[in-house]
Symmetry: C5
Subunit: 339 residues, 5 copies
Amino acid sequence: MTVTYTREVATCRGLSRFLTLLLRWRGSIYKLVYWELVFFLVIYYLLNIVYRCLLDKTGKEWFEDIVKYCNASTNYIPLSFVLGFYVSIVMARWWNQYLSIPFPDALAVYVSATIHGHDERGRVMRRTIMRYVCLCVTMLFTNISPKVKKRFPNLDHFVKAGLMEESEKRVIQELNQQFPAYSKHWLPLVWASSIITRARKEGRIRDDFAVKTILDEINKFRGKCGILITYDRISIPLVYTQVVTLAVYTYFLTALLGRQNVEGHGYVIDLYFPIFTLLQFFFYMGWLKVAETLINPFGDDDDDFELNWMVDRNLQISYLIVDEMHHEHPELIRDQYWD
Amino acid sequence: MTVTYTREVATCRGLSRFLTLLLRWRGSIYKLVYWELVFFLVIYYLLNIVYRCLLDKTGKEWFEDIVKYCNASTNYIPLSFVLGFYVSIVMARWWNQYLSIPFPDALAVYVSATIHGHDERGRVMRRTIMRYVCLCVTMLFTNISPKVKKRFPNLDHFVKAGLMEESEKRVIQELNQQFPAYSKHWLPLVWASSIITRARKEGRIRDDFAVKTILDEINKFRGKCGILITYDRISIPLVYTQVVTLAVYTYFLTALLGRQNVEGHGYVIDLYFPIFTLLQFFFYMGWLKVAETLINPFGDDDDDFELNWMVDRNLQISYLIVDEMHHEHPELIRDQYWD
Amino acid sequence: MTVTYTREVATCRGLSRFLTLLLRWRGSIYKLVYWELVFFLVIYYLLNIVYRCLLDKTGKEWFEDIVKYCNASTNYIPLSFVLGFYVSIVMARWWNQYLSIPFPDALAVYVSATIHGHDERGRVMRRTIMRYVCLCVTMLFTNISPKVKKRFPNLDHFVKAGLMEESEKRVIQELNQQFPAYSKHWLPLVWASSIITRARKEGRIRDDFAVKTILDEINKFRGKCGILITYDRISIPLVYTQVVTLAVYTYFLTALLGRQNVEGHGYVIDLYFPIFTLLQFFFYMGWLKVAETLINPFGDDDDDFELNWMVDRNLQISYLIVDEMHHEHPELIRDQYWD
Amino acid sequence: MTVTYTREVATCRGLSRFLTLLLRWRGSIYKLVYWELVFFLVIYYLLNIVYRCLLDKTGKEWFEDIVKYCNASTNYIPLSFVLGFYVSIVMARWWNQYLSIPFPDALAVYVSATIHGHDERGRVMRRTIMRYVCLCVTMLFTNISPKVKKRFPNLDHFVKAGLMEESEKRVIQELNQQFPAYSKHWLPLVWASSIITRARKEGRIRDDFAVKTILDEINKFRGKCGILITYDRISIPLVYTQVVTLAVYTYFLTALLGRQNVEGHGYVIDLYFPIFTLLQFFFYMGWLKVAETLINPFGDDDDDFELNWMVDRNLQISYLIVDEMHHEHPELIRDQYWD
Amino acid sequence: MTVTYTREVATCRGLSRFLTLLLRWRGSIYKLVYWELVFFLVIYYLLNIVYRCLLDKTGKEWFEDIVKYCNASTNYIPLSFVLGFYVSIVMARWWNQYLSIPFPDALAVYVSATIHGHDERGRVMRRTIMRYVCLCVTMLFTNISPKVKKRFPNLDHFVKAGLMEESEKRVIQELNQQFPAYSKHWLPLVWASSIITRARKEGRIRDDFAVKTILDEINKFRGKCGILITYDRISIPLVYTQVVTLAVYTYFLTALLGRQNVEGHGYVIDLYFPIFTLLQFFFYMGWLKVAETLINPFGDDDDDFELNWMVDRNLQISYLIVDEMHHEHPELIRDQYWD
C-alpha cells in the first residue's frame, strides 16, 4: 500500500512539517537503507581496527597512502548528476504506470445507461460485460504483479473468485495451447464486444451511437492494459541501471577506505565516527533507493500500488453501478434554492 | 487563496519589478522561513557565546577543530541539485492538480442546450443534474482538503447547504455501511446519468447524440475527480521527501558549527553576523519551502487553492446557466458593421 | 509585439548568424538590463573612489578584508542552477499561454458550413454568434492584459467598438450586480449556444450532428479561456520568484564589494574596469530578465503578445468567413493535371 | 534535406558505431564550426606572435598578467549549464515543428471514401478539395521558409505550378488588398469546406456524419498550420538567444588571451598548439551550432526539412488517393491461411 | 529482444536487488564496453611500458610534463552534463518510438463487431482488411528495421508469407515505377478503406457511424506509421551526436596520458592498475552506450524491439479476432454473485 502523507503537510506555518515526516518508519529511508548501512559500518570499523591494531609502521604508511589516494578519487564520478537524471526517469515511469491502470467505472456507467431491460437477460448481459472487464484487468495484473499472481496462480482461482465461468476457462485453455506465446488478457474484452453487438441486435441498446460509445470505451480500456504490459516488458535499459548502481556502490567502496580516519588528516580531535560520510550514505543511497522502490510499482514494497484491493473494488463497484443502481436515482424534487 | 502578482510584473522597463515583489509579506519567503531563521540564529549565538565566554584554551582548540571539520564537510551533499529536481517534480504535480479540478460550466451549457422544456419537470431535471454534479465535486473536496472538510464535516452539512436532499443522504448512508472502504463521490454522477436516460425516454432530450455528449462530459468530469483522488492518495514517495529534508536540515546543522566565527579564519575583522550563511539559509530553506507549500495545494497555506470559494461558485453559476439563462439570448439584431 | 528573428537565422553557413542578433536593440538584453547596469557601475565606482581616495590605512585594510571575505562568499549560492530551473518553468508557462489563446477561426468555418440560409435572419444569426465569440475573448483579454483594459476600460467601449449591443450591456450589468465576484466572459458563449439551439429549431441547422459539432467547438473555446484565466490567477508561487530574485541581487550586491580592485589582488596591472564581472552581470541579470519578460506575456514588453491586434483580426476574419465567404467557392473546373 | 544516420548505428556490437559518424562531413560539426575555428586560430597565433616577437620585457609582463587574469576568469560563466537548458528548449521546438507539419493523406482517404460518384463532377470535386488543401499548405510554407518562397515568389507561380486557378488568384488578390495584415493561407480551406457542403446538398456525400468527419479533419489541418505560423512568429525570446551567444563568444574571446602559452605556465614543454582549448572550442561551439541549426528548421541548412519535396509529394499522393485509387481495391479472394 | 528485469526488482527489502542485476551479461554494460575497454588498457600499458623501459631521463621528464598537462586538462569539458542532456533526449525518443508502434488489435475488434455476415464474402472481407493492415505495418517495418528487411528483402517474400496476393504485388510494382520516391506502406490502408466503403454499400456494415469508427481507427493507425517513419528519417541532428562522441572519446584519449602513473604523483605505493580511471571509463562509456543502444531501437541490439515477433503476432491475433471469435462469446449465464 502506498504511503500517504499529504494530509500532514497541508500547511507550512511554524516549523517545517517535513521534519515530522522524518520520524516515520513505514516507507522511510531508514527502513530502506539500514541493511546497507549496517554492512557499511561493519566493514568500515573492521578496516579501522586492522589499521589501528594490526598494522606495523610500513603497513600503516601504505594504508595511509591508499586512504589518501581513494579520498582524492571519490570525486571522479558525478554521482548527483547521474542519480538526478535516472531518478527523474524512474519517477516519470512510475507515475505514468499508475495513470495507466484501467478502472471499469466509466464503462459501468455507459453500460448501465445504454443497455436497457430490467428482465433477467438484461441483467445478465450488463453483469457479464462488467465481469469480463474485471476479468481482463485481473488477468493483466497477474502478468505484471507477483502479489496478484500469488492470489491467482492459475485459471481455477479465477473461477473460484467468481471472475470466470468454467466454460470460459476451457476456451482460454484451448487458446493457450494454440497460441502459447501471447498474453490472453484481451480475450474477455472481445467477448464483451460480442455481447454488445448481440444486445444491439436484440434491441436492448437503442441506437448505433451507444454501441460506438461502449466499443470506444472498451478500446480505451484495452489501450491502457497494453500500456501496462509495455511498461512491464520494456524495462529501463539494463545498462543504465547498471551504470547507476555501479556508480553508487563503487563510490561507497572507495569511501570505505578514503574516509578512514588515519593520521595526518589534519585535525586534533580523533574522528571515531564518520558522521558526514554517513550523511552522504543516507543521501545517495536513499536517492538510489527511491529509484529501486519505484522501478517496479507492482511489487511488495511499502510504496507499491494495492492491486489486490483494486481487484475486489472493481467487481463490487461494477456490479453496484450496472445492477443495483441501474436506472435508479432519487426522486426528482425542487431544491432549496427554487424560487 | 493563491497569491497573484502577474499584474505587477506586466512590464520590465526600468529597474526590475521583481524587486518590488521582495517587499511583500503574504505568501513570502520571510513569512515561511522566519521561525526556522529564529531557531537557527538563537542556536548559532548560543554556540558562539559558549565558545567566546565559557571554553578554556583546550576547549577552544577542540571547538575550532570541529568548526574546521564541519566547514570542510558542508559540500559533501549537492544540495542545489537534489532541491532542483525535487522542486520541479513538486511544481509539476501542483500545477497538474490545479488543472485537474473539475468545473461544471461545460456540463451546464450542454444540459441547458439539450434538455428542453420550460415546465417545472424540465427545470427540476436540469437543476437536479447540476446539483448532483456540484455535490460530487464538493464531496470530493471534503476528501482531499481539510478546509472543505471543516465546512462539511458530515452529510448533514451537505443537506443544510442545499447540495443534498434528505432522501439522497439516506441512500449514501446505506451504501456507506455496505461498502465502507470506497469513496462515494461518484454516486451523484451515476444518478445524473440516470436522470439523463430518463429525460431521453420522456423526449426532453431530442436525440441520442445529445445523450452521448452529456454522458461523455460527465465521464470526463468523473475522470478529473479520479485524478484528484489519485494525487491525494499517491504522494511523492516518502523516501524522496525524507532525503531532501534530511539533506537541507543536516546542511544547516553542520553550518551551525562550521560557519562559527572562530580564530584563525583569516580575516582581520570580527564577523559577528554570519551574513552569507543567512543568505544561504534564505536561499535553500526558501527553496525547500516552495516544495512544502506546493506539496499539498488544498491545505491552509497562502498559496493554496480556494476550494470553498469554488463550492459556492459552482452551484451559483450552474443554476444561472441551466435555469435563468436557459435558452435565453438577447434579441437578434443587425450589428454595427452590417452593410 | 513579439520580436521575430527566425528568418535571419535560417541558415548557419559561414560565421554564426547569432552574432548579428547581438546588434539588435528591440527586445534585446541591453535594453532590458541597462538601468541595472548603470546603477551597478555608479555604486561600484563610488565605492572604488571611497577606497582609493578617502580611506586611511586602517580603513583600507578593513576594506580589503571585506573585499576578500565577500569575494570568497560569492559562490555560496548556485545561481546558475536555480536560474536554469526557474527560467525553464517560466518559459514553459509562457509558451503554453500562447497556445491557450483561443482563435475563432475554427468556429467560424463550422458556423458558415452548418447554419444555412442567405436571408437576413440567417446572416444575423451567423454574424451574431461570431460577434459573441469575439466579445467573449475580448472581455477575457481585458481581464488579463492591462493593454487591452486600457482600450476597453468599461462596457461602453465594447458597445462603441461594435462588439456589444446596448441590450446586451444591460444584461451584463445586471448580472454584475447579482454576482460581482465572478468573471462574466463566458456569458456571450452561453448566448451563442442558445442561438444555435434556436437555429436548429428553425431548421437552419439541418442535423443534430452539426449542433453537437458547434457546441463542442464552443466548449473547447471556453476551455481555452479558462486556462488563460488560470494562468493569470495562479502565478508561479511568490516564494519561488523571491528566492530567485534575492539570489541574483544579493549576488551582485556581494560582487559590488568582492570584485573591487584592491591591493593584493595579485596582478601587476591595475584593473580599473571590472570587465568579467560585467560579463557575469550581463549573463545572470539577462537570464533573470528572460524570466521577467516572459512571466506576464500580456503586458507591455517588447516580447509580449499583441492582443489588441488579435481583437481586430478576430472580428474581421470571423465576419469574412461566415458572411462574405458563406458557401462561396471558386467555380469547379478541371485542374491542370486532369488526364 | 535532413541528415539520416540511424541505419548506421542499428547495432552497437564491437567498437562504437558512433566513431564512424565522426568521419561524416554533411551536417557535421566540422562543416559548421570551421569558419569560427579558422578565425579563432588566426587571432590566437597573431597574439602569440605579438607576445613572442614584438613585446619587450615590460610588455611581456603585462601580457602575462592579462593572460593570468583572463585564465582565472573563464570560469565566471557556467557555459555548460546555460547551453544545456537552451539547446533542450530549441530541440523540443524543432521536433514539435516537424510534428506540426500537416500532411493531406488522412484527408485524402476520407474524401475518397465519402464523396461518391465516378462522373466528372465527382472527380472534379475530390480533386479540387485536395488541390485546395495542398495550396493551403504550400502558401503556408512560403510564409515560413525562404526556400519555398524562392520557388513561389508570387501568386503567379502557384498558378503555373497547377496549385491555383486564375479565378482563385483574383479572389486572393482582392482580399489581399482588403485585409493586407493577415495571412490568407486558410482561405483555400474555407473553399474546401464550401465544396463539401455543396457535395452534401447534391447527395454525393451520403450522410451528415461524413460531412462532420471531413470538416473535423480540415479543422485539424488548419490547426496544424496555425501552430507552424505560431512557431514562426513567436521566436524564442531574443534576450535568451543573446545571453547564450554572448556567453559562448565572450568565453572564447577570453580564451584567446587566457590560454596563450606564456612563460610561467609551469610546464617544461612549449605548447605551440592549444589542443585542449580547441577541444573545448569544438565542444561548446558545436553545442551552440546545434541550437543554431535547429532554431529555424525551414531554412537552408543540411539538417533542415525538405519542404519543396513535400509540396510535390502532397499533390501527387493526394491525386493518387482521391482519383486513381478512388474506391479501387484488389479483388477480394481467400487468403493463404483460409481453412 | 528487450532485456526485462522488473520482476527481479519487485521488492527492495534487505540488500539492494540492483546488486544482482550487476551479474547479468545479456544487455549489460560489460558486454557493451568490453571492446573499448580492451583497447584502452592495451594502449595504456603500451604507453606505460614505453615510459618505464624505453625513455631516458629527458624523455621521462617530457613524458611527465605531458601527463601533468593532460591531467590538468581533463576537466575542460563537462562530460556529465552533456551526457545527461543527450541521453535523456535519446531515451525520450526511444520510448516514444515504442509507443508509436501500431497494433491492429483495436481495428480487429471494430471490424469484427461492425462487419456482419457469416458467409464467405463476409469472412473474406474481414480477413482481407486485417491482412492489409498487417501488410501495411510489415512494409513499414522493412523500411525502418534491418532485421525485418532481411526477412522480407523484396515483395515476393510478402507473397510467400501470405501477407500479399500476386495481384496486389503487381499494383505495388506499378506504383513503385510511377512514384519511386515515396514509401508505399499506406497503400494497403487505402485498399482497406475502399473495402469498408464497399461493405457499407452491400449492407454488411449497418450504419454510417460504424464506417466512421473504422475509418478513424485506420487513420490513427496510419498516423502512427507516419510517426515511426518520421523518427526513422529525422535523426537527432548529427552534430549533437558528434559533439557528445567527440567529448567522451577525447576525454579518454586525454586520460590515456593524463592518468599514467609517473613519478611525482605523490603516492608511496606504485599504482600499476588505474582502478579509478577504469571506473570512470565504465561510467562515462556506459552512459554513452545507453545512448548508442537506444538511438536505433529497431536494430540488432539486445535491447531492441522484437519486430519479427510482432509481424507474426499481428496476423495471428487479427485472424483470431475477426474470424474465429467473430460474434462468439461464452453462453450468458448468471454469475456467482447473483442474488
